[in-house]
Amino acid sequence: MVPLENFLALSGILFAIGVYGVLARRSAVLVLMGIELMLNAVALNFVAFAAYLDPGQFAGVVIAVFIITVAAAEVGLALAIIIRYFRMQATSNVDEAAALKW
């Protein structure tokens, strides 16, 4: 049997990799991928807690479902914004997105 700590450590490492991706990447699409990794790490964390510590309550599982839903909404909206920005500025590089208005 796999101990709970394994899952938690795994999700922690996954989260940290996501953070690195968000900080290091230049393209907004890639930043989005980092965010996806972070969200997944969190969902995995919730599910692990629910499965080990909270049987019969499912709060963790339900929250994971919500996270996936919100992640889908976030991907859609973020991609729309990126497309919009790309059309105007011809770039999807977050470093160059410095203008507050145009």
Binding site: F86, R87, M88, Q89, A90
Partner: protein, 383 residues
């Protein structure tokens, strides 16, 4: 592949910023180009923003070859221009030389020629229905249906001339040999099967809603545009203009024959298809008339021809209604047994020059069927 143009891959700057355009090479080896033809499509997603046709892969120097050979020798090369309707090309070449040298053709030979030319026209149009259906995406079913009738016509041609595709059957001043004995019976049987074949295409393509949705209102051409772009033949008649060389500037025995000139209304792809359907049917009518009216016996080759044909200074322009449009020959003779110049106005080449105007702004899939609707034959385009 560095010779392929890549400079067209450019960003189209609008006032905003759009996606990157992409150029795709359709051809030279591509199922939709019906031979070795290449068009470079610049596409924005699925939209065609530019189209550039490249020809010449099948160039054989036909006109130059003709200048260097005896009048009778070049016959076989002219077969191979519009190779789907070899007899039509032979007929045009023979008539041009006859007009140049003032040679009479026996009556029976004229009828035989018209029968063979119209059979060739049916042949070519059936190839069009089959290939066009395949372009629109009928998985080769239309292709095989077209080939069924073509095989029968080719068999008949083989019986008459000894060869299927490039019979070299016509001669200056007539035809090589008389028809076989049971020709009339065989020919009527072929015509019946052609009529059945047309009905099959009605069932397979004409009445198919998807087919009509794809073809209707696609690249409509007005008569003015058609004339300005140099369209001829079915392409021009689809726009609604009643222009057929067989009527407008009659040659051979066409003035004696009863047939209609089918026209379209809006010049779209569907009209082009329908005009060809109707033309194939009219060709059947013409052949039936010829079979009824032709002299049952007689000469098929002018017997008074010299062994070597020499033409003094002369010049002529002969227009015929080929299968793809106006198949015209401008011939100059300056003495000797060879022509000084033989210029071919190949119809598909001229129609092809309007490709860009018709294709730009449509979808990639539409570009393919617009190209298909022109019904190009590369042997004739590249000469």
């Amino acid at each position: 592949m560095s010779t392929w143009p890549t400079t067209r891959e450019m960003d189209i700057e609008t006032d905003g910023f759009d996606t990157v355009d992409m150029s795709i090479n359709v051809g030279p080896q591509h199922p939709a180009t019906h031979g070795v033809f290449r068009m470079v499509l610049t596409v924005d997603g699925e939209r065609v923003v530019d189209c550039e046709p490249y020809i010449g892969y099948l160039h054989r120097g036909l006109e130059k070859l003709t200048e260097n050979a005896d009048y009778r020798q070049s016959m076989g090369w002219w077969d191979r221009t519009d190779y789907l309707a070899g007899m039509c090309c032979e007929g045009a070449y023979c008539m041009a030389v006859e007009k140049l040298a003032g040679i009479e053709v026996p009556d029976r030979a004229e009828y035989i020629r018209v029968i063979m030319m119209e059979l060739s026209r049916i042949n070519s149009h059936f190839m069009f229905f089959g290939a066009f259906g395949a372009d629109v995406g009928s998985m080769g079913t239309s292709f095989i249906y077209g080939w069924r009738e073509r095989e029968r016509i080719y068999d008949l041609m083989e019986e008459v001339a000894g060869d299927r595709m490039f019979p070299t059957y016509f001669r200056i001043g007539g035809v090589t040999m008389d028809l076989p004995d049971n020709f009339e019976q065989r020919c009527r049987w072929v015509l019946d099967s052609v009529k059945k074949g047309l009905e099959d295409f009605d069932g397979l393509l004409t009445g198919n809603e998807v087919f009509i949705e794809r073809c209707r209102d696609l690249s409509p051409v007005t008569p003015e545009q058609g004339i300005n772009w140099g369209l001829t033949g079915p392409m021009l008649r689809a726009t609604g203009l009643k222009w057929d060389i067989r009527r407008a500037e009659p040659y051979s025995i066409y003035p004696h024959l009863k047939f209609e000139i089918p026209v379209g209304r809006q010049g779209d792809v569907f009209d082009r298809y329908m005009v060809r359907m109707a033309e194939a049917y009219q060709s059947v009518r013409i052949i039936e008339q010829c079979l009824d009216e032709m002299p049952k016996s007689g000469l098929v080759l002018n017997p008074s021809l010299p062994k070597t044909l020499r033409v003094n200074d002369a010049e002529c322009y002969l227009r015929t209604e080929g299968t793809k449009g106006e198949y015209s020959i401008y011939a100059i003779a300056k003495g000797g047994n060879k022509p000084y110049r033989m210029k071919l106005r190949s119809p598909a080449f001229c129609s092809l020059s309007a490709l860009r105007e018709m294709v730009v702004g449509t979808y990639v899939a539409d570009a393919i069927i617009i190209l298909g609707s022109i019904d190009i034959v590369l042997g004739e385009v590249d000469k």
